[in-house]
């Protein structure tokens, strides 16, 4: 069943290629074919529910960004994963599908917020989690978990308190639970506990 849908789609869409997957059928779609494919998937293949939109940052590789859609068919009870590579590494852009699945509106805003991928034709593409003038895209590979220093969202409050958005003190973190050993010794802890807020991180 999983291959059948891919074969049928490949007959219709020349650029579609199967994609490696551990669970549900998955395929790669060229960015220019994506709007047509999406409409067909919804109207002809009964993928009426868009479960998720997210993206992958491949760091050094090119194309750097891949937008990933998870579609679900309520009638057939099957998922389909569609991956769309963004051609431009600097200013990645994909056509919005919020006209087809209204739920894509907020999902695409989140993907834009975290990765900086623009969705052409989106009705109101603005940040959804971070504040409007936040200057970074936090899920990009070059962005550290601790974050970079910038200004508070509110200028008046920033002036009154002198507070800034700071890089979070990681103290040897990020904090992860070891996979092995007894449960009592598997509290999440930083990988390197030699440095703390009082003992600064040693220079390499």
């Amino acid at each position: 069943m999983s291959e059948e849908i891919i074969v049928r789609l490949q007959e219709r869409f020349a650029g579609v290629t199967p994609r490696e997957s551990l669970d549900w059928p998955a395929l790669n779609c060229p960015v220019e074919q994506w709007p047509v494919l999406a409409a067909a998937l919804k109207d002809e293949f009964a993928y009426t529910f868009l479960a998720d939109v997210t993206a992958v940052d491949w760091n050094e590789a090119s194309p750097r960004f891949t937008v990933v859609y998870h579609l679900f068919s309520v009638q057939k009870h099957v998922y389909l994963r569609v991956a769309v590579d963004c051609p431009d590494d600097g200013e990645p852009e994909v056509t919005s599908v919020s006209g087809l699945w209204p739920t894509a509106d907020w999902h695409e805003r989140e993907t834009y917020d975290m990765f900086g991928i623009r969705f052409r034709g989106h009705p109101d593409l603005k940040r959804i989690l971070m504040w409007e003038d936040y200057p970074y895209f936090p899920l990009r590979k070059e962005f550290p978990l601790a974050g970079w220093e910038t200004d508070l969202p509110d200028r008046e409050v920033a002036a009154a308190t002198g507070a800034k958005v700071i890089g979070a003190p990681m103290m040897g973190g990020p904090f992860v639970a070891p996979h092995e050993g007894p449960m009592s010794e598997r509290e999440p802890r930083g990988g390197d506990e030699t440095w703390t807020e009082k003992n600064p991180k040693p220079k390499e």
């Binding site: 971070m130 308190t161 979070a168």
Partner: protein, 179 residues
């Protein structure tokens, strides 16, 4: 007829209705036993805050049961939960809108230090934007811990010089480490 004597001893008619004390002590007693909280519930600590207010723990025993959702009517802001940078200006504005005298309890690890959220999105301690009077540890703290924090704050208010504070409406300064 009995001869009218000069009043030298205790007279119940007068002193039975009078308590002699210092103005500061009276004001502080009133203030510390009718602290109306501003419930700044931002995350799971707010659930424990609600439990503290409910019948089993009953914050009313300490005169702080009047949760006011208007900062104008509140005395103590209980910051219960993770303060994100996006939320931080709102917390500060609500604090600014509270009428003096006002106090702040940082409830739980997140409000006190950022807690486990060592992240680009979370304010690393609400004391960076508002002056905190009492920090309550825990993740989240049990209701008893919050009540203990409230009692500590009551003791702290009891030591304040309230009459001299009446003249000034300035809010207390932030600690110099963050200012």
């Amino acid at each position: 007829m009995a001869e009218k004597k000069e009043e030298l001893a205790y007279d119940t008619k007068i002193e039975g209705d009078i308590v002699v004390t210092k103005a500061d002590a009276a004001i502080n007693w009133i203030r510390s036993h009718s602290m109306w909280p501003m419930p700044m519930g931002l995350a799971c600590c707010a659930i424990e805050l609600m439990a503290t207010a409910s019948s089993r723990f009953d914050i009313a025993r300490f005169g702080a049961e009047v949760m006011r959702f208007s900062p104008r009517q509140a005395d103590v802001m209980i910051v219960a939960g993770t303060v994100t940078y996006k939320m931080a200006p709102a917390v500060r504005r609500i604090y600014d809108q509270m009428a003096a005298p006002k106090w702040v309890i940082a409830m739980g690890a997140c409000a006190s230090t950022g807690g486990m959220y060592r992240s680009y999105a979370v304010l690393q301690g609400v004391d960076r934007i508002v002056p905190v009077d009492v920090y309550v540890s825990g993740c989240p703290p049990r209701p008893e811990a919050l009540l203990d924090g409230l009692l500590k704050l009551q003791k702290k208010v009891g030591r304040e010089r309230s009459l001299s504070r009446l003249g000034s409406v300035e809010s207390p300064r932030l600690s110099p480490t963050h200012a």
